[in-house]
């Protein structure tokens, strides 16, 4: 029986793929398999079974240490053949996005990466992803026998796990260690920020005149109880760390309230805010593109507006 095979180096993403993959598999008359690779594979396998996988292919082969792309793609290509996979869905994490191209090449397959949503149409899975820097959404099918999709984390929602575990399969993969060796891992400078989970998000753009003025914006965030994000320019100038970036190359956020301050509204940024419940924009240029994306707009200088806003949102 043909299968949908799912894998991600992120356990949460792997669960999402297994859970949604089971729904697609049922509709397509396929089975749902998952791959659990590396030292934690047994624990991962149990979780993926509980989230829907009928079969979990487990490998703790020493060559998988460090999850180098050449080795993981080799492992998954072999598992895809053994599982008779028609679709392979991997998480579009950094490792997963890199993996998708190499895996597809091994399988002679077409691939779609950074997939935001998948729909079943006429017996085929159709993947949607941004194109032209986020200006458009392309809907694509893959025509090869095996099809590879790299799906963004959180593209699929999961519900509670179901009782029961998948059948564990331990394939003989005979993997060769990668020539790429991990020397060390080190923490990233700056505190951890999770913009994806922010319920209130304030983003600052090029309207900010000087790095020192960030204190004004930070005071507003504190008063609002919101996280601070920014556009690419501020990261490029190193005014804020990369983990504050919202948009195509940063976080895709889903806050209930998003407030943009001094942001022009280039699509590379707005693509990261389009799932907000309510969008507010403040910009001194009444023709700024950001107002097209806003529910509420204030034409004004952010240096005049922010202090008044800061007072007004206290305790709300």
């Amino acid at each position: 029986m043909a299968d949908i095979l799912v894998y991600s180096d992120s356990l949460n993403t792997a669960k999402e793929l297994a859970f949604k993959g089971k729904e697609f598999a049922a509709a397509l008359g396929m089975g749902i398999s998952a791959a659990a690779l590396g030292a934690d594979a047994d624990e991962t396998a149990a979780q993926l079974g509980a989230f829907g996988a009928d079969r979990v292919f487990v490998s703790k082969d020493a060559a998988l240490e460090g999850l180098q792309t050449d080795v993981v793609s080799d492992a998954l290509a072999k598992i895809a053949k053994e599982a008779d996979a028609t679709y392979v869905m991997v998480g579009s994490t950094r490792r997963g996005k890199e993996l998708a191209g190499r895996l597809a090449q091994k399988l002679g397959a077409g691939a779609v990466t950074d997939v935001n949503s998948v729909e079943l149409e006429d017996g085929k899975l159709v993947a949607a992803r941004f194109k032209f820097g986020g200006a458009t959404v392309a809907r694509e099918t893959v025509d090869t026998d095996i099809k590879v999709f790299a799906v963004m984390p959180k593209a699929f929602e999961i519900e509670d796990p179901v009782a029961g575990a998948g059948t564990v399969v331990t394939p003989d993969l005979s993997l060769t260690p990668s020539a790429v060796k991990l020397v060390e891992t080190k923490p990233k400078e700056g505190a951890a920020v999770n913009l994806d989970a922010a319920d209130r998000l304030v983003c600052i753009g090029r309207g900010l005149g000087a790095k020192d003025d960030l204190t004004i914006v930070e005071a507003f965030c504190t008063a609002l109880g919101g996280e601070l994000g920014c556009t690419k320019s501020l990261c490029d100038w190193e005014w804020l760390a990369e983990n504050r970036l919202v948009g195509l190359s940063g976080a895709k956020t889903k806050p209930s309230l998003y407030i943009s301050l001094g942001i022009s509204g280039q699509v590379q940024h707005t693509v990261g805010i389009s799932s907000s419940k309510v969008i507010v924009a403040v910009n001194k240029d009444d023709k700024a593109l950001i107002f097209n994306h806003a529910d509420y707009g204030i034409v004004g200088d952010i240096y005049d507006v922010i202090p008044v806003l800061t007072e007004a949102v206290k305790g709300k």
Partner: protein
Amino acid sequence: MKIIVPVKTNPDLQMVRIKNRQPVLEAVPYILGDLDKNAVEAALQLQAEAGDTQVIALTLNQGNRKIKDTMKEALAMGADEAYIVTDDALVDTDQAGKALAIAKAIETIGGADVIIFGEGSHDGYSGQVGPRVAELLGVPEIGFARKLTPGGPGIQAERSMGDFIEVLEAPLPIVITVASEINEPRIPTLMNIMKAGKKPSTDWTLADLGLEAADVAPKNKILSNLAEEQDRKNIMLEGDVNAQVAALIDALTREGVLEA
């Protein structure tokens, strides 16, 4: 050492307008993408550190009528030589077809020690072509590099994995993709722009690489490519700043996103 930088020239996204949800590409000039410039810059910095190194820029022409001019930018930055593959079959190919043509071109050039891509193209940003080329050439790869240093068994690289940084080393040959944080691409001097026109540039077709149109036929089918519909209230708040903020607080309270 020989470094090949496969670059993509793509429509200037700042100039792409949306009309009836369709992207309008007519009269939009092609440019070298920002990440492609990061890749060229990374190659030039490796060249400066390693010495005795040749940097070759390679591109597939996908409908850019002024591709020689666009590639001159890579040469003006400092690349020593350019190769341009032009063929009608490349206009509508996909990542698999592009990877095949690039891998064949690298082999035809005589191989390379380091092949550096941007982590994705400016317009499509699929990030597939680099890893596909690594597989076709049978070499290892390091994606999303933020720092490259010659040394160790061949090359050392740092890459950012979100919450942490990995330090890796690998022998050559290797495929590297670079993230934008790796460097600030240099802006060519007038002198170097003048010199760029005299640098060698070779034109090939797919036949020169031993390929036919069928070899690069797309494996994916794009059903539609449309701008998302905006469904926002677009209410502009009037009055002085105090009146605007007061009206905003009222509205956000009614929306249920602020507490009364």
